[in-house]
């Protein structure tokens, strides 16, 4: 789960990482109230989960109430790469002497943690990595041992952060590492991490991705969920406990297993169609799960046909077939359904469906045949 900047800053603050004083605002009036409370000048920042806000006009400096009104009014509702701004973060403007970059993430090939630190922050780190790779200091961290202050001190020196910033930065990086590990982040990134003229170091931005698998030990994540979904289809699917991702095609997809679901998207694409979604119903495809899946897909107005692709392993195909029939009794489905059923008890499953087949409920013998049929019906 990706956090908005303001949520990331609130998360950082839990671990003692210094951030600028500020608050969220959903209206111009709220923005004004925050600005009056924290004092001018303030920075008004669009809260969207996409990069390039500044260039799109989503970050503005305001010296007085009039400017807050003007900028907050312009930014709210702004469309930044398909993300409409509904919330602002208003914070005290900081004087900047230097901009650094710091992040922790998993180094998948080496199966260790990777710290990245640069004295050249403020720009996209991919650009720095491309044009000036020696400006980034990489630190490989053994997850068993972690990061201690001594190592962190050597690291900030090696990265050639300004002398006056080093001690504060070293301590902040240890806190950021704690936030990353104890806070179960896939990514904890600060860009820029700034040094002010009066020689304090703090986080001016926050990019945090949380590991959903760890949510059982983080009840505090609940508050982030309310704002998690911008896509109403995904919200509906999540409420029904489904693993769903909305896409913009016309063939609704239901498959068991993430790999097979991904592969189904690919095959639909190969035969000239476009998928409306990714949906993995997992191992137990009973009537409830199937009904919920069909319901979510049925609610998508773009869907013209539905491709149910099942390879029974643990999942028994006869149960899937019964599930589909039961689901159809409960939910009225607008689009034709094409099923491909293979694996455990496939013969029984096809037998169960046989008397019910019509031009709205179709079976095909292979994944490719079923994809072609579903795409033909959608186009």
């Amino acid at each position: 789960m990706d956090l908005f900047e303001y949520q990331g800053k609130q998360y950082f603050a839990r671990y003692g990482i210094a951030v600028s004083p500020g608050d969220v605002a959903d209206t111009v009036e709220e923005a004004l109230a925050v600005a009056e409370r924290i004092g001018y000048p303030v920075v008004i920042k669009a809260q969207v989960k996409v990069g390039g806000r500044g260039k799109a006009g989503g970050v503005k400096l305001a010296d007085n109430a009039e400017e807050v009104r003007e900028h907050a009014g312009n930014i709210l509702g702004l469309d930044i790469k398909g993300h409409v701004v509904r919330r602002l973060w208003v914070e005290r403007s900081s004087d900047i002497e230097k901009e650094y970059y710091a992040s922790f993430t998993l180094d998948r090939p080496n199966k260790t943690h990777l710290g990245m630190l640069s004295a050249q922050g403020g720009v996209e780190i991919e650009v720095v990595a491309e044009e000036n790779p020696e400006a980034i200091s990489f630190l490989s961290i053994d997850p068993v041992r972690g990061l201690d202050l001594e190592t962190s001190r050597r690291w900030v020196a090696e990265a050639e952060l300004d002398e006056v910033a080093r001690e504060q930065a070293a301590a902040l990086l240890v806190k950021l590492y704690d936030c990353y590990t104890q806070g179960d982040c896939d990514l904890a990134e600060i860009n820029p991490l700034i040094l002010t003229p009066d020689h304090t170091v703090h986080a001016l931005d926050a990019k945090v991705t949380l590991d959903e698998n760890a949510s059982y030990r983080h009840p505090e994540w609940e508050e982030y969920r309310a704002d998690e979904f911008e896509d109403p289809r995904e919200k509906m699917a999540k409420e029904r406990g489904l693993n769903y991702i909305g896409l913009d095609g016309t063939v609704g997809i239901i498959a068991n297993g993430a790999g097979l679901a991904m592969s189904t998207l690919d095959v639909v694409n190969q035969v000239g169609g476009t998928a409306a979604n990714f949906l993995d119903i997992g191992g137990g495809a009973d009537a409830n799960v199937m009904a919920a899946a069909l319901e979510v897909i049925n609610a998508d107005p773009n869907v013209k046909s539905i491709f149910v692709n099942i390879f029974g392993g643990i999942t028994r195909v006869d149960e899937v077939a019964n599930g589909v029939l039961e689901a159809l009794q409960r939910v009225s489905i607008a689009s034709p359904i094409v099923l491909r059923l293979d694996g455990t008890n496939a013969v029984e499953g096809r037998g169960i469906l046989a008397p019910h087949l019509n031009d709205h409920l179709i079976t095909e013998p292979t994944m490719l045949d079923a994809a072609r049929r579903a795409v033909a019906l959608a186009n």
Partner: protein, 294 residues
């Protein structure tokens, strides 16, 4: 021959008394796997359908001589169960548990490397391993596999592993071993471990490899194949149409920035001389063609 397991492998099931552990443990035994014990703290002395249950892995290993463990416990207990297996003398651990936090996986993996260098972990979040006719540890349905070789299969995805077995078995092409390495960010066993074992296994004549988006394991495997693999490899990579920045079901299946795309993986594999196919059916057909020509 087979890799990692064979007909003599003795297996204990950690979590045998749970619903899933019982179901899959008994299925594995019915397949012919030597399932010699179960471990559930506090339930030692009992049995599950005549399989003795022990309080700890150490006790189970001492009593049965098991060398492999099948870990079927919920995510919050899985890391401790894996370490307990290693401490108890198990050398091959299969963990099917889905949903383990990535940081726990990273710590567990490194603890194994540092303190138990002789131990191999398969998974977590994998379907397990099957050597048809000999040993099945995990959740793969034994009847879709065909004994006798000559194909080795290694896959990051569960259902696509079944699909691959199915595509070959219906054409009469058998498998030496089929390994599901799992779709998590920190897999205990990776493609190269399996490719290397298949390369050394005289009965494996060709390898089918199924990858997916995310990470760079397929690219690393391609590099390894280029320099070390003499046996033909057929590959399929799922997720060509996956959008960046979205986890496609598996915790490890995510395209970050320009990294981890299916196209980059397919290009790297093709460049290494691998037969890259666009869907599982095509990959199956290609493998059948290669085997029939041998």
């Amino acid at each position: 021959m087979s890799i990692f397991v064979d007909e003599n492998t003795k297996v204990i099931v950690q979590g045998l008394t749970g619903g899933q552990g019982r179901f899959h443990g008994l299925r594995n035994r019915d397949y012919g796997t030597k399932v010699v014990g179960g471990v559930t703290p506090g339930k030692g002395g009992g049995d599950v359908d005549a399989i003795p249950v022990f309080n700890s892995v150490r006790e189970a290993v001492e009593a049965t001589g098991a060398s492999a463990s099948f870990v079927v416990v919920p995510p919050k207990f899985a890391s401790a169960a894996i370490i307990e297996a290693a401490e108890g003398g198990i050398t091959f651990i299969v963990c099917i548990t889905e949903g383990i936090p990535a940081h726990d996986e990273a710590v567990t993996f490194n603890r194994l490397v540092e303190d138990f260098p002789g131990v191999r972990l398969l998974g977590p979040n994998c379907p397990g391993i099957i050597s048809p006719g000999k040993c099945n540890i995990g959740i793969t349905s034994g009847d879709i596999a065909l004994a006798g070789g000559p194909v080795g299969i290694v896959s990051r995805s569960g259902t696509l592993t079944y699909q691959a077995l199915h595509e070959l078995s219906v054409q009469g092409v058998g498998q030496t071993t089929c390994v599901g390495i799992g779709g998590d960010p920190v897999p205990g066993t990776n493609f190269i471990d399996c490719l290397s074992a298949f390369q050394d296994d005289p009965e494996t004549k060709a390898v089918m490899m199924i990858g997916e988006i995310g990470g760079s394991e397929e690219e690393r495997a391609a590099e390894w194949i280029k320099h070390n693999m003499t046996k033909p490899v057929v590959a399929y990579v799922a997720g060509v149409t996956a959008p960046p920045g979205r986890k496609m079901g598996h915790a490890g299946a995510i395209i970050s920035g320009s990294k981890g795309t299916a196209q980059a993986k397919m290009d790297a594999l093709a460049e290494a001389g691998v037969h890259v196919c666009l869907n599982p059916t095509e990959a199956g057909a290609k493998m059948v063609e290669i085997v029939k020509a041998m």
